[in-house]
Symmetry: C2
Subunit: 652 residues, 2 copies
């Protein structure tokens, strides 16, 4: 059983982590410089040419300070929540009075839009006040509450101000009074999971057990028979919000079975991983080994059978859902950025509970590939969908590839991904470290300086690296007294020749669940970690039908891809020569400085093909080509064109 000491590892306070990293800072700085100001204009409907978001207007109408109709989606309030959460994480490391004052004004407005009894949701308050909680399947009230609650907690942690938190506690209390097993209470649970993990966070900060009990109720109740969502549709008060959901299957919302009986990751991928996060939290808190076993099984099902090599999930463009084992098409998948964020959140929880590095391997893969792919290098456009193969000509409207966009899009009407990326980048620190009583875990190799409070001491860390361009990680570590501490450094699954020196001397270390553990009392000690991560050809499991006779190229956590701008069009007509070496060349001028990979291959000669017949009794002619691969996360930052991750290869 993985519930070690019933004590999961903790995060290091974001305020104590100062990131300054060649790979990451070019993205994280976009949050404050570009995304937060841009989204602020979006929330205020001040962006010319963009669809109005109605977000702040809705709160004003709900507060009785403006007139008009509700605008936007039923979960429109979450855009405000995610903006505030990103602002909070930003303020945690980078104080800004003006930004904080703006956030405070928004929080005041949220407070004024709250109903007397604590209820808070502008859609229902403005539009359907009689229909509160009558359509949990589609209404997103609990989902919206969850995001607001996460934002409130982040804001409290960052600023120490409790106004927003108190607003949300009042709402959480209403939720606790409304839902539950007891007679007279609503026996439902959220159509889109999110409140569960937020209630756990509220419990962690308030120590009020009723909040985590509420989360436990939602998780325990889910999927019991008869299905709540099918039942609620029979009520006179039920009013459909999304007509296309008629004929809804409980699989979509993971309510097909009680969660402990679920063996495969099903339905809408974001819903699924948000739920698994809460399941992991609850399993640990209640020492519930059955629930934890379900988390392990679901994790394994995702990672071993339903996840792309880029750490993305959700194979189906329709309903953004999981499909079936080994069904991972490359050009029609959804692979939503938000789902990879959720997967990273789930993996981090599993790592904290089990102290196993293997979970962070997946977290790192999701962050370095799909999450970063979701945002352009100027922070102004976004992918919701992260395909592994794009042929722009075939991404036509009203086909099964309509969701695949060959270029990143400006802020969408339903803007889940951009603010989700923003809050993830702003809280990147949470992934770098974990801490036990006397051990600091280093998960990710991101340059930063931090002060980590362990039980009886502080540890000062300065981490300097150019990872993933090279694999030298230099740590300067001190502790503020002589008590011994441990540092556990993750040995990535791709690392070869992993070694550590301390103050220039080779260091023997114990390997514990994938972490290299060093014990000592540190006083400006220089720890150098070094490993190799040569570029590799990766093959898929033979049961993964879409990728048989193909290779992907990875180097460290990065998956590589070919782009048309470097390799010409018709990337499907390429055959990689896997017998030859992959050469690695760092290009400091390209894409902010990145390692390019070159391989030899053949490419079909298609010069005159458009004049030829469609089917021929004639072998295609192949020409030699030198292929240039770039990191997947950077694709689409230059020119619109084809892109491919899985390349054909001569496998015989």
């Amino acid at each position: 059983m993985g519930l070690e000491n019933n004590k999961k590892l903790k995060s290091v306070n974001l305020q104590k982590i100062k990131i300054n990293d060649a790979f990451w800072t070019k993205y994280t700085k976009l949050v404050k410089d570009v995304i937060i100001p841009y989204q602020w204009n979006i929330l205020n409907d001040n962006v010319k040419g963009a669809e109005p978001s109605h977000c702040l207007k809705n709160f004003k109408i709900a507060a009785g300070e403006s007139s008009g109709e509700f605008g936007g989606a039923v979960f429109q309030d979450t855009d405000v929540a995610k903006w505030l959460e990103a602002v909070a994480y930003t303020l945690a490391t980078d104080k800004d009075k003006n930004l904080e004052a703006t956030a405070d004004e928004v929080i005041d407005l949220i407070g004024r839009a709250q109903c007397e009894d604590g209820y808070l949701n502008t859609y229902f308050t403005i539009k359907e006040p009689e229909l509160r909680w009558t359509n949990l399947m589609e209404g997103h009230e609990l989902y919206t509450a969850g995001h607001l609650l996460e934002a409130a907690i982040a804001y409290y942690n960052a600023t120490g101000k409790d106004k927003f938190l108190n607003i949300m506690i009042k709402f959480a209390d209403l939720i606790c009074d409304t839902f539950g097993k007891e007679a007279g209470k609503n026996h439902g649970y959220p159509g889109h999971q999110e409140i569960e993990l937020a209630l756990v966070k509220l419990y962690e900060i308030t120590n009020e057990k009723k909040y985590i009990d509420m989360a436990k109720y939602f998780i325990d109740e889910r999927g019991k028979s008869p299905n709540y969502f099918l039942e609620e549709q029979k009520s006179e008060k039920f009013k459909r919000i999304f007509p296309e959901f008629d004929g809804y299957s409980p699989l979509y919302s993971q309510s097909h079975l009680p969660v402990r009986e679920q063996k495969t990751a099903e339905g809408h991928a974001v819903r699924a991983v948000y739920m698994y996060c809460a399941m992991a939290d609850l399993a640990c808190e209640y020492n519930d080994s059955e629930l934890f076993k379900a988390c392990e099984i679901l994790w394994k099902n995702i990672v071993d059978k339903r996840m792309y090599i880029t750490g993305s999930i959700g194979s189906s463009g329709l309903l953004e859902r999981f499909t079936t084992d080994y069904d991972l098409p490359n050009d029609s998948n959804y692979s939503e950025t938000c789902a990879s964020i959720g997967l990273a959140l789930f993996g981090l929880r599993m790592a904290k509970i089990t102290r196993k590095a293997k979970y962070i391997d997946v977290v790192e893969r999701a962050l370095y590939n799909t999450v970063i792919s979701g945002i352009s290098m100027d922070g102004k456009s976004f992918f919701y969908v992260n395909p592994l193969e794009v042929w722009p000509d075939s991404c036509l409207s009203r086909t099964s590839k309509e969701h695949v966009k060959p270029v990143r899009q400006k802020w969408f009407g339903v803007a889940c991904c951009p603010p989700n990326i923003a809050r993830t980048l702003a809280s990147l620190g949470q992934y770098i470290y974990m801490k036990a009583k006397d051990t600091l875990y280093i998960n990710l190799f991101v340059s930063n300086t931090s002060v980590v409070e362990l039980e009886e001491k502080n540890i000062y860390v300065e981490l300097v690296t150019d990872f993933p361009n090279d694999n030298n990680i230099n740590l300067k570590v001190s502790s503020n007294n002589d008590n011994k501490a441990s540092i556990a450094i993750r040995i990535p699954d791709y690392a070869e020749n992993f070694n550590i020196t301390i103050n220039g001397k080779s260091c023997l270390f114990e390997v514990n669940k994938g972490f290299a553990v060093i014990n000592g009392s540190f006083n400006d000690d220089i720890i150098k970690v070094k490993f190799d991560s040569p570029a590799r050809f990766m093959y898929s499991n033979p049961l993964l039908r879409a990728d048989f006779a193909k290779v992907a190229i990875t180097k460290g956590p990065l998956v590589y891809c070919l782009e048309e701008v470097d390799n010409g069009s018709n990337l499907s007509g390429i055959m990689v020569n896997t017998a030859e070496e992959i050469s690695e060349i760092y290009d400091e001028n390209l894409l902010g400085g990145t390692t390019l990979l070159y391989v030899n291959g053949k490419k079909v000669d298609d010069k005159n093909s458009s004049r030829e017949k469609l089917y021929l009794n004639k072998r295609p002619v192949l020409n030699d080509i030198k292929l240039k691969a770039i990191s997947y996360c950077y694709w689409g930052n230059r020119k619109k064109g084809e892109m491919i991750v899985w390349m054909k290869a001569d496998i015989i």
Copy 2:
């Protein structure tokens, strides 16, 4: 310019062709024995477990002889039309008093359901009498009229009875009075093309020019700016029938451009090819070279860039539509059976106009592969969608492969394909022969005995063959006087060593546009045609991204495929060895007697793969395998499982 003498070739009267063919008769006999009786029960809502069709009930309600609501789709009447058309073709060659009496009763009912002014459509008569012609985009009134008209003409040709024809002439007259350029007339055209080709047929049988002028108006008007369908939606009377069509693009119905300006096959594939049929008819009749050029361009676009090797069209599962050049995914296509029927109808017209055999190569490909694939060997189940690759586990509901069914389905609610297959099989004779003043064209190698009326003589033909299992075509030909005649025998594009003997003596022949032409006066002459059609590996055009580094196997007109029942699961893990020969073995016991093809290859070893990781730095292990391929048209007649047409091959 292809409009030869402005005289297109004619069909041979179906009554004069008696088919008795090893390949085809096992299907054609199903029409009378299975499909017509079964559909009769469907039309009467007498099939337990099947959704009620409401078809005849609707006519009774419209006739004032029954009460109740209209049931079924807006075009539900076409099921009755296609049934009557299939009955007519059947009666043409196989008299049956009872069947004819039943058909007469249905025709009487149709007559009673007709409005005073000639209007005939049970949906609008019963449900929306005020809304006639107000939603041409979705209302299908002209489409329905077209199918009824085709049926009426077929019934008249088969039986000589004109009641049905007169009913439909009255409706056609109303249409002519309703639509047109003139002020006060409706300036629209059909949302789903079909009436155009039916009006041409009506002209051919009545010699009334106004009917073909009406068809010409519909074709000429289509796609002019402003778009009629977008305009009609602005009317107060417009009432949407299919909510999912909101945001409709004129491409869908080929109304995006005037037809003469269309260079690529766009939109819903069935609508497109039905329209091209009428365009070809009209181009010939009006000696309209610009219109004919458009037909040639559109044909070429389909055949060279947008058609599957199985002669199917419509790459997109959504909207059953064409997508873009070379976009031919194998596992998510629509490839509707009806679209291949339409393609065959278009090709036959082009062949009649140009006398070029190349059009029949495509017609044959569509008929021998996709049309036959559409029906099970017992005639009781049907494919609407004809994929080239199926992995049943991945055909999940509410994904982009939901439309792909791994097994043929029972009669559907919207039953376009089954009755369309029935009428095609029942009228197969129309594809076998064409005739000019003094030449008989033999297009297809289907055993039959026929009497063909040329201008001044009859030709008696007995054609005996076991094609496509072998390529010996034996003809006994006589003419009833000594005037010379010509016989033109198609040289298929796949034929090698094509030769002809007459009465045992080698015969020199002229080749004219792909036909071998023999001149003579025939008196019980024995003409033997022989050619080779070895099984071949076919490669796709390098621009066809889905099929690069793959091969298909064909033999003659037949495309072959691998099925799981013969080759195990995970057919995507197969690599064909193209260096070795394909062996051909006739199996008289399998699937009514068929030639099987065997090739050697490798197959990935996946025995323990479900226990392995999803991505590995390890080449897959391949084992030798002997592969057994069957004709694509027969797939899915044994056991549910995987199927694949395009197999990976070592192409370097």
